[in-house]
Every structure is written in structure tokens, then in C-alpha cells.
């Protein structure tokens, strides 16, 4: 969605999308966490730390997804869009039927990487005391005084999540590729 605003003909939407992407993407994730954790309650009432973590991760990953899809859109040759326009398709139709289907094919692999990065980025949520994997490992390590084992378990936990996602995206990639 935001990616189509970024390439679309409507200037205010394009500007808003660009601002969002540049602001959020250029902040370290930990800073965003702290900022939202302490800043959000002031404007929108108190959220549990967990909700905050989900919002921040969504916003943050969203910027990368946006940029990835945008690069996919740009990789679809301009002639394709031009041909669609000359057939009388409107801009949303052109995106839906011509540009996005082709763009998505080229971005499946990078999107897979992003998804894996998202899983790992969740570890930073422990700066605002959300009980995710890394934070739990830290506490277990504290309690048992065996940091090696605790973090090894955490690492295995992440791999258990990321490796299947990697395989899944690999499979999706093969499926859409044969349709060319």
C-alpha cells in the first residue's frame, strides 16, 4: 500500500509515505522502542509493553517491506506500465493487474529475508522488558548462572523459527517463478 503511494501520482500521499519511511527507517530500532514505550502513553493512553513492541516492530519492518516492494515496482520495466496506460487502465488497475504481480515475483526472496530479520529484531524488545526469547534467556541465565546454556537455547529457538520461514519463502519463490 505505502509502496504504491510512494510511486503513485498523488503528491501529498507520496510525501507522507516518504516521510514515514525515512523517519522510521533511519532510527535505530532500540531508540524507537524506548521512544514509543515512554512517548506513546502520553498521547494515546497506556499500552502494555507487549502491544508497544508489536506496533514498533510492525512500523519498522513496514518501512523495509515498503522499500523492498518499491524496488520491485521499479524493476518492472517502464514500458509495461506505459502499455497498460495506453490500453486505458487506470492507475490502480495498472498496479493491480500489471505492475504488482510482476513486482511481487522479484521481491519474494528479499521479503523472506525481512521476515527473518523481524523474528530476530524482536530480541531488541527486551529493552522495554517484553518477555521475548532473548530477555527470557537473560533471566534464565541470571537465575541458573549458566549463560552459555541459556543463550544457546535461545539461539536454537530463533533458528527453529527462522529456518522454516526461510524454507517457506524458498518454496513460494519456486511456485511463483514457474508461472513466468
Amino acid at each position: 500500500m505505502v509502496a504504491s503511494f510512494r510511486v503513485g501520482p498523488i503528491a501529498p500521499l507520496r510525501a507522507a509515505a516518504t516521510t514515514y519511511v525515512e523517519l522510521v527507517r533511519n532510527c535505530p530500532l532500540a531508540v524507537l522502542f524506548v521512544f514509543f514505550f515512554f512517548g506513546l502513553p502520553k498521547v494515546m493512553g497506556v499500552y502494555p509493553a507487549y502491544t508497544t513492541a508489536v506496533i514498533v516492530l510492525a512500523l519498522y519492518t513496514g518501512t523495509y517491506v515498503t522499500e523492498t516492494i518499491r524496488s520491485g515496482i521499479n524493476s518492472v520495466a517502464g514500458g509495461q506500465a506505459e502499455a497498460a496506460r495506453s490500453l486505458g487502465l487506470t492507475f490502480p488497475q495498472l498496479l493491480a493487474y500489471v505492475v504488482l504481480p510482476q513486482a511481487l515475483r522479484t521481491v519474494v526472496a528479499p521479503l523472506g529475508n525481512l521476515f527473518i530479520a523481524l523474528t530476530k529484531n524482536s530480541s531488541i524488545a527486551f529493552t522495554i522488558s517484553v518477555g521475548e526469547l532473548t530477555g527470557t534467556a537473560q533471566r534464565v541465565g541470571n537465575a541458573t548462572n549458566n549463560y552459555h546454556a541459556a543463550f544457546l537455547a535461545a539461539a536454537i529457538g530463533y533458528l527453529l523459527l527462522t529456518i522454516p520461514s526461510g524454507l517457506l519463502f524458498g518454496a513460494i519463490e519456486r511456485r511463483v517463478a514457474v508461472k513466468r
Binding site: A77, G79, Q80, A83, L87, L89, R180
Partner: protein, 247 residues
Amino acid sequence: MAETPVVVLEKVNKWFDDLHVLCDIDLSVDSGEVVVVVGPSGSGKSTLCRCINRLEPIDSGTILVDGAPLPAEGKELARLRAKVGMVFQSFNLFAHKTVLQNVTLGPVKALGQPRAVARERAMELLDRVGIAEKADRYPAELSGGQQQRAAIARALAMGPKVMLFDEPTSALDPEMIKEVLDVMVELAEEGTTMIVVSHEMGFARSAAQRVVFMDGGRIVEVAPPERFFSEPESERARDFLSKILAH
């Protein structure tokens, strides 16, 4: 009373920054007429085509298609573009769709035709351009000449009032040029209104009523093909012809 011309350009001007690409272009194309546009590289031929279906906006002047001025971007414009078929030098078939899907996309999505109707009409058109057996292939599986014929069928499927061709054969190997030109000559004989940017003199001689010679963003000379190729009036046209005849 004479029919209204299909395409009318009046005092059309266009700049790319400070480059004056189209200068005071006046041109009127009647229904059923075939006009071939020639001129040196950079003279504004492609820009002229792109302005007629408003892929590029113009800075001043008017363009009428089927009697109506070109509207600004939006639904209206989309409707108007459907009246102007465009065939590109680089085919620009939709890479992720089969030939048949390429041809039906416009009629179904832009004109709202029922899918079955669009399919049937598409098969007729593919048959007419001689590639009906390739209907379920993807563009990458076709030769250049077949792709360009598919692109012609795709443009025709919209039932356009006028067909624009921008150097339709210049990306093709010599043996494929003929198969595309044959289709175009046939269209011309059936009374399709066409504006063709092409240096194929054989096509101009056999199909065109007029040749428009452009140079430096201006229309320098307009003449029937026989006269233009044998005794051009302007110095610049003579110069240009001697260059393209040299090889």
C-alpha cells in the same frame, strides 16, 4: 458533409525543460487515412505519438481525438486512451500473462466486457495476425515478430479509432519485419486509421496516403509517398532521404 477527422492537432507545443521537442504542430488525420511519419533521430516522432494518447502532456495547443479534447489524468482519460491503440517499438507485452490474457486484459478491465466475449474476440484477432496457436504461450516464448503481432492484436482488441505505431519493426530481425508489415498493410486496406512512425519506405508506398517529414520538432513537409520519396521539396528532406537510402 465531411466526417470529423479522427485526430486533430492544432498549434501543439511541448518542451522537455528548455528543449523544444514539438513546435507548432498542426496535423489532421481523417478516418481511414494512413499517415507515415519520418524524420531524423530526435526530431520528436515518438513524442508526437506519446502526446496523442497523452502518455506525455503537452504545454500548449489542442489535440482532439474523435472530436473531443484530451482530458486530464483520470477516468475520462482512461476512456479516451481506449480509443487510441498504441504499438511500441519494444512490444511491451505483459510478461506475466499469456498472449491471450494480454489481449483480453484491456477489454475486460477497461471496457468492462464479459470475459467470454473478450476471449472470443481476442481469438479472432490472434487468428487475423496469424498467431492463434500461440494464444496460451507467454511472451518470452515468442519470436520478436510474433510478439509484435500479439501487441497489435492487443491494441486492436480495444476497438480503437486510431492506431499509433512507433517504429514497430525497428527492433526486429529482417525476416520478421515482413510478417509484421504484412499485418499492417492488411489493416490499412481494411480502412484502419493509422499513424505510423517508420522508415520502411515499402510500407509507406503501399499503404500511406501521406508522409509527414519532421525535423527539429517541426513538421517540415507533408506529401504523398510517391512524391515525397522521389522529389522531396525541402532541402532537409532531401538530405535525410539521401542518408537513409545510403544504407
